[in-house]
């Protein structure tokens, strides 16, 4: 029973009115931005960071977490009704969700998605509750070398699994690491890259960078992309799925939840990847796969369960190891640091109220979201009528005024605009902003642990390899780098053979890939 005591105390934390209110606020914002195409959860969380300064750490993280998993629910609605995914993680839901909507079964699709999301989320919270303390206790023995290896691997995985070009993503991560060195060197106290500026003496602040690169960068990017006004759909009827639909999709929900949970833990995994994987798995398993894309309920149930499960389980590496598994988690990591909380293996033991408060708030949040997605779905469908053109200036003002309020500093507004332009240009040139922000967040931790380890080893880098855990992690690190290189070499060799045996069309094909 000892294990459950802090878990139950956590519910006490959640049920405080302030926390309940922020949980509701978080999931509602998440649902809204999920419905509205344009801003993703990472951008929204970044923009709303200033809002978290005035409240307790638990309360702040409860809200930010709510935005993240709430967006998974909301993204479904536009996928189903308009055939445009509100969130990247809802892209595959479009295929069968929209097909169902055309058959007049939009309600069924939304209902199944909501129930799948709820089950996926709940399964994942239970998994998080059971697994997180174990991972944390295992990681308690980690020393500087292990953290160095873990941070390196985490950054590399996030960069290589993201959907941009791998090389560009790793470059973005490198730039993030370089940005993290600006300011006072933690060991010698010497200034680095400050160019004599007092504003840079303490280093670049995380908030303007995240708000700029994710928030403003995305707003500017959308400014260029937006041409068409979206037409709001008609009414949605019968949201309650029938017993037969539920029966048909129950397997898909179960498998999607479990798959999503495990993919969410992996660095770079997260909601988008797991929804794709779950859809592919269901299609492969199905007796008649040709039903998929033509309105198969499983095609909605599996990815929606998976993306929500993954959104929840991606908190495990953050809260137990202090290593964010994706860009959104990097921002929540930053938010925790702002609050003076360093996420890591000690968190469960030292700050059980925060840990279990956040975890347990997800039960409440998921129940709230289920209510919003089934009985109240009509309200959110109406919100689809709000045009993106109207929202853009409002989000811009929230960003600019928000960042000013943190330190009453006009310099910070300049920083946000500067990084907003950088974020826009990165998107334009095919660089993912996620790895940069993640590497920036982990940069100081990485350098500190690297230097500490080298001190321990007396300057001999071989020490990393001889310690079992850091050795294995570094081996995985090397494999992630070199396996794809070797594979592509093999592919090239094969392709060359193919072109040699007279197939001119193939060459063009390869070039356009």
């Amino acid at each position: 029973m000892e294990f459950f005591e802090p878990v139950i105390n956590g519910f006490g934390v959640v049920l405080e009115p302030m926390n309940l209110l922020y949980c509701l606020l978080g999931v509602m914002i998440g649902m809204l931005i999920g419905v509205l195409p344009g801003l993703g959860p990472a951008a929204t969380i970044a923009i709303l960071l200033p809002l978290t300064y005035g409240v307790e750490p638990v309360t702040a993280i409860i809200m930010l977490a709510g935005i993240f998993y709430g967006a998974q629910y909301g993204g479904t609605i536009t996928s189903v009704l308009l055939r445009l995914p509100g969130e990247a993680s809802a892209v595959v839901t479009v295929f069968d969700g929209y097909a169902l909507a055309k058959q007049g079964k939009a309600g069924t699709a939304l209902g199944i998605a909501a129930i799948g999301s709820f089950i996926g989320g709940t399964v994942s919270i239970i998994g998080l509750t059971l697994l997180a303390p174990i991972v944390a206790s295992f990681a308690l023995d980690f020393g500087p070398p292990e953290y160095t290896a873990l941070a390196l691997l985490g950054i590399l995985l996030v960069a290589t699994v993201s959907n941009g070009g791998k090389l560009k993503s790793v470059i973005a991560a490198g730039l993030g690491l370089l940005l993290a060195t600006v300011g006072r060197d933690g060991f010698t106290g010497e200034s680095r890259f400050t160019f004599g500026s007092l504003s840079l003496a303490d280093g670049l602040d995380f908030v303007p960078i995240a708000m700029g690169i994710f928030g403003l960068g995305e707003i500017l990017y959308n400014l260029e992309q937006r041409h068409n006004k979206v037409q709001a759909p008609a009414k949605v009827a019968n949201v309650w799925p029938s017993r037969q639909d539920l029966k048909q999709s129950s397997g898909a929900i179960g498998r999607g939840s479990v798959l999503g949970f495990f993919l969410g833990i992996l660095p770079g995994g997260g909601a988008t990847l797991s929804s794709l994987a779950a859809y592919a798995m269901e299609k492969k398993r199905a007796k008649n796969p040709e039903r998929f894309g033509r309105g198969a309920v499983e095609g909605v149930a599996a990815p929606e369960s998976a993306n929500n499960a993954a959104a929840t389980s991606s908190f495990i590496p953050l809260l137990t190891l202090g290593i964010p598994a994706n860009a959104t988690m990097a921002i929540i990591f930053g938010a925790l640091l702002i609050q003076g909380v360093t996420p890591g293996p000690q968190l469960v033991a030292n700050d059980p109220e925060l840990f279990w408060g956040v975890v347990n708030s997800m039960y409440i949040g998921n129940i709230l979201l289920l209510i919003m997605s089934i009985p109240l779905v009509g309200i959110f469908v109406k919100i689809l009528r709000v045009r993106a053109a109207i929202l853009a200036p409002i989000t811009v003002l929230i960003t600019l005024i928000g960042v000013y309020t943190i330190r009453n500093s006009v310099f910070d507004i300049w920083l946000v605009i500067f990084f907003g332009v950088i974020g826009y240009l990165m998107k334009k040139f095919g660089f993912e902003p996620g790895p940069l922000v993640l590497a920036f967040v982990l940069g100081a931790l990485l350098e500190e642990n690297l230097r500490r380890s080298l001190l321990v080893f007396g300057g001999d880098a071989a020490g990393f390899v001889t310690r079992p855990i850091s050795g294995v992690l570094l081996l995985v690190f090397l494999m992630v780098i070199f396996l794809p290189l070797i594979q592509s070499l093999f592919k090239k060799a094969r392709a060359k053979k193919a072109t040699n045996t007279d197939d001119p069309s193939r060459k063009n094909e390869k070039e356009s890939v």
Partner: protein, 189 residues
């Protein structure tokens, strides 16, 4: 965050309308066709030059980083000086960027700048105007101007809609930030 958002919002409107007009012709798309359609709807890709330019910028940053790090002193692995870690990152950046210029230049993941890119430049202009003004005249007037420009010119809303909305937005911000939250934003009134 990821491109499907932006892409999706492009095609959505025209598609829904087109589908309504053309009956069910567009309606029976398989996922593969739909994905292909999204791909086509992406903004036109920029050529190898964009990738080389991006790589060149990174190389310049990397080389600058190398020189500045050397100036800070490297030290030994056992007793590193402040320049060691930035030096390592800068070297890695130069190597990676060179690899991008050599091997990755033909990837089509960069987007061309188009005439609608001017909207972004104009948007950035309004942001800069906002910062220049906010310190001296408070947030109300710059916010009003920014909202109006974004609605009327960047968002193509009607004159009436833009005027009414921008006043409403600024009023709402004033009520929330100044009256309700008491946030120390520079304000006129």
């Amino acid at each position: 965050m990821t491109s499907p958002n932006g892409d999706g919002s492009n095609l959505g409107g025209s598609d829904v309308r087109a589908a309504a007009e053309a009956g069910s012709v567009l309606d029976d798309l398989t996922p593969e066709q739909l994905a292909a359609e999204w791909d086509e709807d992406k903004p036109p890709a920029a050529g190898p030059l964009a990738n080389i330019a991006a790589a060149a910028v990174v190389v310049v940053i990397g080389i600058a980083g190398i020189f500045l790090s050397l100036a800070m002193g490297l030290g030994t692995p056992e007793a590193p000086e402040p320049g060691m870690w930035p030096f390592i990152i800068s070297v890695v950046l130069v190597v990676l960027a060179t690899a991008l210029a050599v091997f990755g230049r033909n990837r089509l993941d960069a987007e061309k700048f188009s005439t609608s890119s001017w909207a972004v430049l104009a948007g950035v202009g309004t942001l800069i105007g906002f910062v220049l003004l906010v310190g001296t005249v408070g947030f109300e007037i710059p916010s009003l101007l920014l909202t109006f420009v974004w609605l009327r010119f960047l968002g193509k809303e009607t004159w009436r809609m833009s005027t009414v909305l921008s006043f409403a937005v600024v009023a709402a911000f004033y009520l929330i930030f100044v009256v309700a939250l008491g946030v120390p934003v520079p304000h006129l009134f």
